[in-house]
């Protein structure tokens, strides 16, 4: 076991993948000499050489598109998209090619590529540096979408993502890059598509992923002051979503709050609420609630605290499902 930051843990996972399989390649803007703008790939170019850790031209569509060609040739590319908001030039290659090649070719071609995407806000940055675009990709058949919340998962999940024969979008909770935790480099990991109950509780199921897992845990801790017992689920995988774990939890608690930074409309919270309503209808004590980003473009830094869900907004939703006084008590939309 070693203490490491989440970013170092991803780097350690990448190093391990490069060592274990000489067909693994890293590609991206500024990932070589600089080690990436977040230093996740720090030192890897010097260790493995510029043939395997490739500073690419400044073109996201080019990065992903050539990674597909490399896949035809048996290479497993791990592409870094520098920030969430810069993934869109590659959107076509991802949704029209990466996602569909296996099905299109009736299984003849596999695209085992991994796309690393630092995502999420609350870092005080300028536009395009704080987005949560996961729903676009989870919506697209053929892509797996995952996101770790701890250094241990960051390490294990990047290795599993690279080893997977499916394309995996690996969203990195950038504001947690510097959070530290124990990492066991030899740990037997929970499968990539399984959720984890990170705190047990009996009154409310609070479902989070990526950057908001830590906030959800803080909210659960704070709720004990008010005698409320919250169970926190870290989804880990956003496609597929481990609905079995959710179902068991909600059947136990009878109440569910889903949180994410992405905008509410069309976000994963809606999908989860629908499945929970379907599968746990007779256990539910209250309608599922969502605490999410607002349905607006990500705001300038000075307003981002109003966009990104915090502990207070989570607890307000907990009050709603608990039937306690809350911000919408007596409120009417009309």
């Amino acid at each position: 076991m070693t203490q490491m930051t989440l970013s170092k843990a991803i780097g350690a996972g990448l190093r391990r993948a490069l060592q274990d399989d000489d067909h693994v390649l890293l590609m991206g803007e500024d990932i070589g000499e600089l080690g990436g703008v977040f230093r996740v790939t720090d030192g890897l170019k010097h260790e493995f050489g510029p043939e395997r850790v490739i500073d690419t031209p400044l073109a996201e569509s080019g990065i992903v598109g050539t990674a597909i060609g490399l896949a035809f040739r048996g290479y497993r590319a791990v592409c870094e998209i520098q920030f969430d908001g810069f993934i869109y030039p590659a959107f076509d290659q991802i949704v029209a090619q990466v996602a569909k090649l296996h099905a299109r070719t009736r299984g003849a071609v596999t695209v085992p590529l991994t796309l690393r995407v630092p995502y999420g806000g609350a870092i005080g940055s300028v536009e395009h540096h704080s987005e949560s675009p996961e729903a676009y990709f989870a919506h697209t058949a053929g892509l797996r979408v995952v996101t770790p919340s701890t250094p241990q998962d960051a390490y294990s999940m990047i290795r599993m993502a690279i080893a997977s024969n499916d394309p995996v979008i690996y969203f990195e909770p950038k504001r947690r890059y510097w959070s530290k935790g124990e990492v066991d480099l030899e740990a037997v990991p929970l499968p990539l598509d399984k959720a984890r109950i990170v705190r047990e509780g009996t009154d409310v199921t609070l479902i989070a992923y990526g950057p908001l897992v830590a906030t959800a845990l803080d909210a659960a801790e704070a709720a004990t002051d008010e005698g409320i017992s919250i169970e926190v689920i870290d989804l880990r995988s956003l496609s597929p979503i481990d609905f079995d774990t959710i179902e068991d939890s909600v059947n136990k608690t009878g109440r569910v709050v889903i949180v994410h930074e992405a905008a509410q409309f069309g976000g994963l919270g809606g999908e989860i609420a629908a499945v929970v309503t379907d599968r746990c209808f007779y256990s539910l004590e209250a309608p599922p609630q969502r605490v999410t980003g607002l349905n607006v473009p990500y705001p300038p830094a000075k307003l981002e605290d109003h966009f990104v869900p915090d502990l207070d907004r989570m607890l307000d939703a907990v009050d709603r499902v608990m039937g306690r006084e809350n911000s919408l008590t007596g409120w009417s939309a009309r």
């Binding site: 000499e33 031209p57 908001g85 307003l303 809350n326």
Partner: protein, 379 residues
């Protein structure tokens, strides 16, 4: 001194033979400040008066000064981030001063000098970097779009604007500013195709500052960047980007071509990023500082200063007036930045749509209820 420079109207665009262009950038002022002769380009700047020359000098000094002030403000926690334009003053001032007011400019994030020339107010330049707004000004008040952070996107916008100008039968020109890194993006290459196919009055002004964050320009191209455009059917000029006169001459050639129905031009201004990519960047991880020192000797301001000195234009009085202008700009820049107030929380819902949107309206009212609830102290 900052008044517009007289517009060059020559009909001798064809005098610039693009097919025989060499890879040596066009230069009218050596780094030592010596005015060299250029058969092709001399006539394009011969109208510049002493005051015009002093004006260009003052512009560059002022821009460098408030740019440095911005870096200092970032270090002091007053700005979240700043991308310095240090070293690129001649490329920006020389090109922007060649424009007419009614021309329209689409830039990237580093073009503070262009913004200054277009008349953007200093406080408006700081908004984005202080984090109080996602853009700083109304594009139509200064005929300059707010900066594009997505690399290369604005080149298509400029091309489309030029297509609009064409349809209106006007003789304005659209200018796209972008970097060497941007030339790798599909958008930039698509923009050149549209511009060429439609003969749009657009100028592609590439500041090749040798770096895209940590990547040297060699990652983006194996030939001089200016060589690419002719393949699209767009003539190009490679110009010494630290020579304000050469930049202005090249820009005037391109503007004249665009205004007279000749279509697009690509200008590669060869310069150097003398600072970090942004204040968050640490160039010591990747940059060979001897290269930067070599470029320091080709500094754009020093070069013009030497030339003006030779002409005897930098009198004590002239120096004092430039000094006063830069001091004033720095002072105003700092004051304007610090005076910017945080936006009101509920403005987060403003301007998402141009017409009412029921879904957003409902969320807005819910959030207002939440804010008054928490401000009431219950949660």
């Amino acid at each position: 001194m900052r008044t517009g420079l007289s517009e060059k109207t020559q009909s001798t665009v064809s005098a610039v033979d693009v097919s025989s262009r060499t890879d040596e950038p066009v230069q009218l002022l050596t780094p030592e400040g010596v005015r060299t002769e250029s058969v092709e380009y001399d006539s394009w700047v011969e109208d510049l008066s002493d005051d015009d020359l002093l004006g260009l000098y003052q512009d560059m000094v002022v821009v460098r000064r408030f740019d440095n002030e911005a870096t200092a403000l970032q270090r002091q926690g007053q700005l979240g981030l700043w991308p310095p334009s240090l070293g690129q003053e001649a490329a920006q001032i020389g090109s922007a001063r060649a424009l007419r007011k009614e021309d329209f400019v689409f830039t990237s994030y580093r073009e503070h000098g262009v913004a200054y020339v277009r008349g953007v107010r200093l406080e408006d330049m700081t908004r984005v970097w202080r984090g109080t707004a996602n853009s700083g000004w109304d594009p139509f008040t200064v005929n300059m779009a707010t900066p594009a952070v997505i690399i290369g996107a604005q080149t298509l916008h400029a091309t489309g604007y030029a297509m609009g100008v064409q349809r209106d039968g006007a003789d304005s020109v659209a200018v796209a500013y972008f970097g060497d890194g941007a030339t790798s993006q599909g958008d930039v290459n698509e923009a050149m195709i549209f511009a060429a196919s439609f003969k749009a009055p657009v100028i592609f002004f590439c500041q090749n500052n040798q770096w895209a964050i940590s990547e040297p320009v060699g990652v983006q191209t194996v030939r001089p960047i200016a060589d690419r455009a002719p393949g699209f059917g767009i003539p190009s000029i490679r110009v010494d980007g630290n020579d304000v006169l050469a930049v202005m001459a090249a820009m005037r050639v391109a503007l004249e071509r665009a205004r007279t129905g000749g279509g697009a031009t690509f200008i590669e201004a060869v310069t150097y990023r003398m600072g970090p990519h942004t204040t968050s960047d640490d160039p010591s991880r990747y940059e060979d500082l001897t290269e930067r020192e070599e470029w320091a000797a080709k500094d754009p301001i020093q070069r013009l200063e030497r030339y003006l000195d030779q002409l005897g234009l930098l009198t004590d009085e002239a120096r004092a007036s430039v000094k006063a202008a830069e001091d004033d700009a720095a002072k105003r820049f700092r004051a304007a930045c610090i005076a910017l107030e945080d936006p009101e929380p509920m403005t987060i819902f403003d301007n998402v749509y141009a017409e009412p949107h029921s879904g957003l309206e409902r969320q807005k009212r819910e959030y207002a209820a939440y804010l008054s609830y928490v401000e009431g102290g219950t949660r």
